[in-house]
């Protein structure tokens, strides 16, 4: 654990989630809001659930979906470890829907690229915006986040890890860790 350090606390995460939810709410304020939150498996789904709860408190009830992008990865057959596939559930009509895609960390942008392909296979959304808790600021693809909790600049060999609950001896928080 000496190779990791905490960047933000659990309290910071809660504040970040609240801020994202408020910004999204501001976008739909006064409109007949027909939008959806879609979390990217796995940590994006956890974050999307937190944002969803905040949106409820603010009087919004968006549709909710989960998206797994394993079948859409651009490194399939090139990795030593094939990630297990998680559930995809899009229980609403995607056509013309305004969709906020949610992931925990925006790093290379490749996950988001895959998610856009996966999501558009379900239909033709009205628009798609991106919400992330942490934006590392140097994507490899021309992809930017619209709603950001924290901006973090780190060397490429470091990884940002979000723990929403206590995990493997880590207290909840956002950490700077070494790539495994």
């Amino acid at each position: 654990m000496e190779s990791s350090r905490q960047l933000f606390s659990a309290g910071d995460i809660d504040a970040g989630v609240k801020e994202i939810a408020q910004k999204i709410a501001a976008r739909f304020a006064g409109k007949d809001a027909d939008f959806a939150l879609v979390g990217i498996q796995q940590m994006g789904v956890v974050l999307a659930e937190k944002i969803y709860n905040e949106m409820k408190n603010l009087g919004y009830s968006p549709d909710f979906g989960k998206l797994d992008i394993t079948m859409y990865r651009d490194d399939f057959g090139k990795r030593d470890i094939l990630p297990m596939i998680n559930e995809t559930a899009i229980p609403f009509d995607v056509n013309d829907k305004e969709i906020i895609l949610v992931d925990d960390v925006l790093s290379s942008g490749r996950t988001i690229r895959a998610a856009l392909d996966a999501l558009t296979d379900f239909g033709r959304p009205g628009f798609i915006r991106l919400a992330v808790l942490v934006d590392r600021g140097e994507p490899e693809f021309p992809i930017r986040a619209d709603y950001v909790g924290f901006k973090v600049t780190l060397p490429a060999e470091r990884k940002v890890k979000v723990h929403f609950i206590e995990n493997n001896g880590f207290q909840p928080g956002i950490y700077d860790v070494k790539w495994q």
Binding site: D68, Y72, F76, G77, K78, L82, E87, D121, G123
Partner: protein
Amino acid sequence: MQWTRKDLLSIYDLSAEEITCILDTAEKFKEVSERRVKKVPALRGMTVVNFFVEPSTRTRVSFELAEQRLSADVVNMQAQASSLLKGETLLDTVKNIEALQVDLVVMRHSAPGAQNFIADHLKCGVVNAGDGAHEHPTQALLDLFTIREKKGSFKGLNVTILGDILHSRVARSNIWGLLKLGANVTLAGPSTLVPREFESIGCRVCHHLDEAIKDADVVNLLRIQHERQTVGFFPSTGEYAAWFGIKGSTMAKMKDDVLIMHPGPINRDVELASEVADGSNSVILEQVTNGLAVRMAVLFLIAGVRK
């Protein structure tokens, strides 16, 4: 659980964890077939050769559709149209296929172990689509998937496999899978087709239909193969139907929620009466649907291993 095999050759080779990994993955692929776009780009740029040295319709179509839904490029080869007829060895034929930068070979062959042999010599992945009377792993996996979907788990589940066990690769693959996952397996049929030797691997062998089915949660029927009838394993198909066929009246002797399964093609009113095949306990067409998801999962896992 981490999938590491480059080939799928038999159920016998797999651990319970590996079988469960395939079934879990197949669950996710079943959802893909319910989408508007029933296709994912996972195997884009990869080439799969379906090499069927023994004839097949339903398995080949199921594999081909699975490959297409994974966005692979697909080539179908049949023995009649291959150089095997010109005297080329099997190994030379598959080496030539591999030299075309193929990523996966799905093969059916009448010789048990043919796929193991070529898998040892090829860098690309090999999937066994049936080797003689040895194994038919993807059929067993789709049967297991269907059972798990309907019954929840395998622990203590009573599964009866009924029919020509002796010649059946479907039976062998199912037996290994069911035993590994904790089910109780009963094999039933005429004594000429259901040898007592199967008891030595942990199956119950039963030559009386009523006894074989009365506690069964699942009855998996195998096709009675008319082509083997001349050999004299039983006197006539009529007599087989009378003794071992599942009829409407047989249902009263079974559990109300028994699953009736059949890998197809069905000989209607021989091993299975139409009213049962088309009845509410039958999951025969769901097996076909699940077969697609299971084959997508197998191809996905095999192709995802770095070679």
